[in-house]
């Protein structure tokens, strides 16, 4: 319950889906949680209320992580409020699926700037505080199995997540000596708004035939791993991409 007591966490894309579950789980583990949302004001207000009602502390910031100056503005405010930043979870992500032959430049740019650019700029804005001032930090980037197990129509998304994995490894090398770990989590098929379109078409088939644990993932399946990576017990894990997909990426077909 209190393994992250009084630690300060920042989660991007925190108001919905996996991010929301991460905010709740970190708060439940005792952390004070700031989160960033882009458009879902109502959902984010509700989440702050929910955390507060449970005896936790949360604060929401509106920002679009694809804008390069968003990170420094948000992190400045977090530091002004709490004077530390122990845990950074780069979760904000978008999809703009479409076959490559029809892919607009803007579909490419939005996905890369949000998924990869947002991760870069929040890490950069947090790095000095974590490495030089605190000599402590946990960075957790939310990637995707789509980085390695690709689908048609997701050139942009797969590229962005593959880059996040490589970025995670490279950054881990640079920050390791300062007690800052950098890891990624690669979720498989998780029940969120983002996966709604594919789920409604093929969710049952995927769960029954392609996922050894026979179910789609829940946001909480990812959130619990984030809490673990942020905890003291994970201090020797860095530069890793941890796949959480019920076995989907094993590539076995059931039945």
């Amino acid at each position: 319950m209190s393994q992250l007591k009084d630690q300060i966490a920042l989660v991007t894309g925190g108001s919905r889906g996996i991010g929301r579950a991460i905010v709740l789980a970190l708060a439940q583990a005792g952390a004070k949680v700031a989160f960033v949302y882009r458009g879902s004001k109502e959902a984010s207000d509700k989440l702050v209320e929910e955390v507060t009602a449970a005896g936790g502390e949360a604060v929401a910031f509106q920002a679009d992580v694809s804008q390069l100056d968003a990170a420094s503005k948000v992190i400045e405010q977090v530091l002004a409020k709490w004077n530390r930043l122990d845990i950074l979870v780069n979760n904000a992500g978008v999809i703009k699926d479409g076959l490559f032959l029809r892919m607009e430049e803007s579909d490419w740019k939005t996905v890369i700037d949000t998924n990869l650019g947002g991760t870069f700029s929040f890490c950069r804005a947090a790095a000095q505080q974590m490495t030089l001032k605190q000599r402590y930090g946990r960075i957790i980037n939310i990637s995707s199995v789509a980085a390695t197990h690709v689908n048609a129509g997701q050139c942009n998304y797969s590229a962005s997540k593959g880059a996040v994995n490589s970025f995670t490894r490279a950054l881990a090398v640079e920050l390791g000596s300062r007690n800052v770990t950098v890891n990624a989590i690669a979720p498989g098929f998780i029940e969120t708004d983002m996966s709604e379109a594919v789920r409604s078409k093929a969710g049952d088939f995927i769960a029954k035939k392609l996922i050894p644990t026979r179910r789609l993932g829940k946001p909480e399946d990812i959130a619990s791993a984030v809490v673990f990576l942020a905890s003291a017990g994970a201090s020797y894990i860095t530069g890793q991409v941890i796949t959480i997909d019920g076995g989907l990426s094993l590539g076995a077909v059931s039945g």
Binding site: Q128, T131, L132, E174, L175, S177, R178
Partner: protein, 130 residues
């Protein structure tokens, strides 16, 4: 602030930044060879000196990065050319070149980065501010 006071503060900074014992730090200690500094440690040292001395250290002023960038005019067969040496002296006005000049190889450039270099740099910086 006397040179000795500056040294004491710099030595304390080295202990903190590089996790070395105080008695390992002397004026002539080289940061990489003697004190084991890696690239990120140089950023850490700059950060701590800025905080400790209340000054701003612009990038490349104390620890110039990628000094020659493979320029053949500056380095030939692993040796720093006379032109390279004058470039180096211009970029590192606080460094002591007396030993280096006897055998100016690319490998020994790192030995120019000593505790004394930092102390002399800070002396100049503090004198200018006063």
């Amino acid at each position: 602030m006397s040179k000795d006071d500056i040294f004491k503060k710099v030595a304390a900074t080295m202990v903190e930044a590089l996790n070395v014992d105080e008695d390992q730090v002397t004026m002539t200690s080289t940061l990489q060879g003697d004190l084991g500094a890696e690239s990120i440690d140089f950023l850490d040292i700059v950060f701590r000196l800025e905080r400790e001395f209340g000054i701003k250290i612009p990038r490349n002023e104390l620890f110039p990065e990628s000094i020659f960038q493979g320029d053949p005019d500056f380095v030939k067969d692993g040796k720093v050319t006379p032109k390279g040496l004058s470039e180096l002296k211009e970029k590192m006005p606080y460094a002591d070149f007396s030993t280096f000049e006897k055998n100016p190889t690319i490998e020994t450039i790192s030995d120019l980065f000593t505790v004394e270099l930092i102390v002399r740099y800070l002396e100049g910086k503090i004198a200018k501010a006063a």
